[in-house]
């Protein structure tokens, strides 16, 4: 990121911390596309991605005060990752509730909505074949544009582990796509 961009971002963040709605709108304009891509590639669902994106940016209003400098992208995607994991936990909870209800009623199985395969692009289908952790790591690296060092820090793991997981994951994805 060049100096002018960096200065502009710093100015926007100060505005956000001061509670200026226009500055939050500018953050949305800069990062909405990348964050949406991140959520979409992890969930494969437009509606869920819409919800997660809204949740992320509304959450930023309350969380922006905790950003204390450093790479803003790393911080933003760490929050995005937390939003995604909250969604996964909630989904898991709802799934358990649904299963309990299913057992109780002993009625027909309620199908959990799966993404329409015709609507999902080839990459999305192949990504689904990777394990969840590798998929998330690949998306984090691609959409946050953070360095390996930053990603390793975000994931609280040694940089060697991050490098090796991402290398294996991308190699496997390339094989699947060929």
């Amino acid at each position: 990121m060049n100096t002018a961009k960096s200065d502009n971002l710093a100015r926007i963040i100060i505005g956000c911390k001061g509670g200026v709605p226009e500055c939050f709108s500018q953050l949305v304009d800069i990062y909405a596309s990348r964050c949406y891509g991140y959520f979409y590639r992890l969930t494969g669902d437009n509606d869920v991605s819409d919800d997660l994106l809204s949740e992320l940016f509304v959450k930023l209003v309350g969380k922006i005060g905790s950003y204390k400098g450093g790479s803003f992208e790393s911080w933003l995607f760490k929050v995005a990752s937390n939003v995604f994991h909250d969604y996964l936990r909630d989904k898991q909870r709802r799934k358990k509730l649904l299963e309990a209800e299913k057992r109780r009623l002993e009625s027909k199985t309620t199908e959990i909505k799966q993404p329409d395969s015709e609507m999902v692009d080839k990459l999305q289908m192949q990504l689904g074949k990777l394990d969840a952790d590798t998929r998330e790591l690949i998306m984090l690296r691609f959409y946050s544009q953070a360095s390996f060092k930053e990603i390793a820090k975000m994931r609280s793991e040694p940089i060697g582990t991050t490098l090796s997981k991402l290398h294996r994951g991308l190699k496997r994805l390339r094989e699947l796509m060929e």
């Binding site: 990121m1 509670g19 200026v20 709605p21 939050f24 709108s25 949305v28 304009d29 909405a32 596309s33 990348r34 949406y36 891509g37 979409y40 590639r41 437009n46 991605s49 819409d50 994106l53 809204s54 940016f57 509304v58 930023l60 209003v61 309350g62 692009d121 080839k122 990459l123 690949i138 690296r141 691609f142 959409y143 544009q145 953070a146 360095s147 390996f148 940089i159 060697g160 490098l163 090796s164 991402l166 290398h167 994951g169 991308l170 190699k171 994805l173 390339r174 796509m177």
Partner: protein, 173 residues
């Protein structure tokens, strides 16, 4: 996604592999990321972005209102504490009669003795006082030992009257 952090991938991999393996691993990463660039994810809907901005503006207003409310509650709490403190202070002040308590001190010796320059008379007065005190001590001892025929009550009354008289005389000088 064409903006990438300037990062020496090969250099990073060389910490774990030999030069050739590191070059290959870095190339694998670049090719993999190229696939992701060639298959862009859908963009968020314009309407969604507009709705989000409205939602964010509302959240900002809510947050400001909450912050104001919290500050107001704190100010009210501090003011209430001051008022309570003031009320308690006033009550305590009124209870003590509105004036601070005065400490009254008195000398055990009559002022006349201190102020007098007649040493001989003063010595005589002191001798009388000492004698009277010794007499009272003797009577008190006798009472304690029940030497006056067991009429303790009247003896005590007499002793008290005597003490009162001595006290009067003493303070008059």
């Amino acid at each position: 996604m064409n903006v990438r952090n300037e990062e020496n991938l090969k250099g990073l991999f060389e910490k774990f592999f030999n030069s050739e393996q590191a070059e290959r691993a870095a190339e694998d990463i670049r090719k993999g990321e190229r696939i992701l660039s060639e298959h862009p994810a859908p963009e968020p809907d314009g309407e969604l972005i507009a709705d989000m901005k409205v939602e964010i503006a509302e959240a900002v207003i809510r947050r400001k209102a909450d912050a104001f409310r919290r500050t107001a509650y704190k100010a009210v709490a501090v003011a209430a504490a001051f008022i309570i403190l003031a009320v308690i202070s006033v009550k305590l002040f009124e209870k003590s009669g509105g004036e601070p308590e005065r400490i009254v001190t008195a000398s055990i010796m009559p002022r006349a003795i201190w102020e007098s320059e007649d040493i001989a008379t003063d010595d005589a007065d002191l001798a009388i006082l000492t004698a009277e005190i010794e007499q009272i001590e003797g009577e008190a001892l006798a009472l304690r030992l029940d030497e006056n025929g067991g009429n303790g009550n009247s003896a005590v009354t007499e002793l008290e009257i005597e003490l009162a008289e001595i006290n009067n005389d003493f303070w008059k000088g």
